[in-house]
């Protein structure tokens, strides 16, 4: 079943690199073809549920060639097929097309990835920080960001009750 999805995918955008681990099938797609591929997966292959959008920062990861790897976890609610679509990104080109036109649920998921990793989603209707405050400048889930922070908490501007 998953093989049919992958052959449909490679018929549309050319050969895709596929890996398998413990029953999960992952395909790596270039960001230029991402929208096209996702459109195919959603409309023709029935992947109607975008389970999650997440990102991994591969700084210092063994054998990693790219800095960031986005992961789109897709599921087909009719056949229970699952597919992971990976997009590998490198600085300074940290942007991919937004999936909001296909799955409205991508809105907050992509905002969180932007907030935590600083990856821009082109065409996103409202790409603002979601969990961190607006004035925060760093991207906390990147591997070069320390666990203790860079003093943001210590230097956070506070207003007294009288000034409020």
């Amino acid at each position: 079943m998953t093989n049919a999805s992958i052959s449909a995918l490679s018929a549309r955008i050319g050969a895709v690199s596929t890996t398998e681990f413990r029953g999960d099938t992952r395909v790596i797609i270039g960001k230029e073809q991402l929208l096209d591929a996702m459109q195919l997966l959603k409309d023709d292959r029935g992947f109607d549920l975008l389970v999650d959008v997440t990102c991994v920062d591969y700084l210092n990861y063994r054998d990693a060639k790219n800095r960031f790897g986005l992961a789109y976890l897709l599921a087909n609610t009719a056949t229970n097929e699952r597919l992971t679509v990976r997009v590998l990104l490198d600085e300074p080109h940290l942007s991919v097309p937004s999936m909001v036109p296909l799955w409205a649920g991508a809105n907050w998921l992509e905002r969180e990835v932007f907030d935590m990793f600083g990856i821009r989603f082109e065409g996103h209707p409202d790409l603002r920080r979601i969990l961190m405050p607006e004035e925060f400048t760093a991207f906390p889930l990147r591997k070069d960001y320390p666990l203790q922070g860079r003093g943001e908490r210590h230097n956070f501007q506070r207003i007294a009750r009288a000034e409020a």
Binding site: D24, D48, V51, T54, A71, G105, N107, D126, L141
Partner: protein
């Protein structure tokens, strides 16, 4: 209009009768801290912009610094209404990464505690929803039974609220005869409470008027917005991972998936009430059929501490024990990444785990159902009145600690 369009841009001069109300961050109906900026025309909500992040405490960053067993104390604090479900989901994902098949006994015990957690979660959700819409007695009935479940967890693990009872490859505590006795007593007493609760609210004029037809979500829209769990099932989506991708011991039990078609607040309440009965059926079947045998995986897997008799009497046991407790050893995970999910009380709860060889995750991403469901809130409340805000919020069961992580 987009879901979270900034209010300042959309409000114009000719609509100066529209006023803005800050709902939260401290409001009894938000239960914890979340803020919604409501745009009101009289009592009618024209738009709502959620502002979240008040409880953000970097759980995922912490997950990259604690080892696979330690992080379970953090996942317990995500959805603190049903912490065991988070723990089972986390270690399920870790075990998938490691390629461990847990023992049948462990599968059954994890199924039982997850279903008890589901009942506890649904009791809080429906109870608090009743409380917010004015049904105080219902809330007390629900909370009395929650205490019974807490008591069971305390008997299992010594911890009432955050049991943190799973470990990689097993559980930290086995069930004692007392635990099984307490679960049996709960199984006997709870259906009467459930009947009482249904009699209190199902045909209660005030509650039905306040929830029927409010916050309608279509099934197609639910899937498009990534909604899962009771919220999607109340809109007619039949997806339930317990049936669709049977994990743990769910394939062994006879139970139904509860769905409704209306997709309104009442349907979400109703699905949760019905799911509690199904959870009871699962627990009743599981508790009488717990397989004998070891609880944890054997010493060949090198992930769980071997029993003391093995440590003292066999060389393999001694070696495994030392390998696991010495700070520079621990177990080895593949340089790989995987995603595993369970049907938590709130919907699909999954973890995307990246291993880098050490016993600390390289990345521990949570798929938080509350976060995804809260993004539905603006479109559910648009056009309803201010008093419906609490009904919709209650029916979505937003747990702010999981929302912000």
């Amino acid at each position: 209009m987009s879901i979270a369009e900034p209010i300042a841009e959309s409000s114009s001069r000719e609509s100066d009768y529209v006023w803005t109300l800050n709902f939260g961050p401290q409001h009894p109906a938000t239960h914890t801290t979340l803020r919604i900026v409501l745009k009101l025309d009289g009592e009618r909500v024209i738009d709502a912009v959620p502002d979240i992040g008040y409880l953000h405490s970097g759980f995922e960053k912490t997950g990259e610094h604690l080892n696979y067993n330690q992080y379970v104390t953090i996942t317990d604090r995500m959805n603190y209404i049903s912490p065991v479900a988070n723990a089972v989901a986390w270690h399920g994902a870790v075990e998938k990464l490691l390629g461990i098949e847990i023992t049948p006994r462990c599968k059954y015990l994890r199924t039982i505690v997850t279903e008890l957690a589901r009942i506890s979660d649904h009791l809080l959700c429906t109870g608090a929803m009743g409380l917010d819409t004015g049904a105080f007695t219902f809330f007390l009935y629900a909370f009395y039974q929650r205490e019974v479940i807490y008591d069971i967890f305390e008997t299992v693990s010594g911890q009432r609220f955050h049991p943190s009872m799973t470990r990689v490859g097993g559980l930290a505590y086995d069930f004692t005869p007392l635990v099984i006795e307490k679960i049996r007593t709960f199984l006997k007493n709870f259906p009467q409470t459930l009947d009482d609760m249904e009699r209190l609210l199902n045909r209660n004029r005030i509650f039905v008027d306040r929830t029927k037809g409010v916050g309608i979500l279509s099934g197609e829209r639910a899937t498009n917005m990534s909604a899962t769990g009771p919220i999607a099932r109340a809109s007619g989506v039949t997806r339930d991972l317990r049936k669709d991708e049977p994990y743990l011991a769910y394939a062994d039990f006879d139970f139904q998936i509860c769905c409704a078609k209306a997709g309104d607040c009442f349907a979400r309440y109703y699905v949760r009430m019905a799911e509690m009965r199904e959870s009871l059926r699962i627990v009743a079947q599981a508790i009488e059929n717990i397989p004998a045998g070891p609880l944890n995986v054997g010493i060949d897997e090198r992930t769980t501490l071997p029993p003391k008799s093995q440590v003292y009497q066999t060389i393999e046991g001694t070696i495994t024990h030392f390998e696991l407790v010495m700070w520079n050893r621990g177990f080895v995970v593949p340089n790989e990444e995987t995603y595993a999910a369970i049907e938590s009380p709130n919907g699909e709860l999954g973890f995307y785990v990246v291993g880098d060889g050490s016993d600390v995750a390289y990345r521990a991403r949570t798929r938080p159902p509350s976060f995804i469901h809260f993004s539905l809130f603006p479109e559910l409340i648009r056009g309803h009145t201010l008093s419906d805000v609490v009904a919709v919020l209650g029916s979505l069961n937003i747990i702010a600690a999981e929302l912000d992580r």
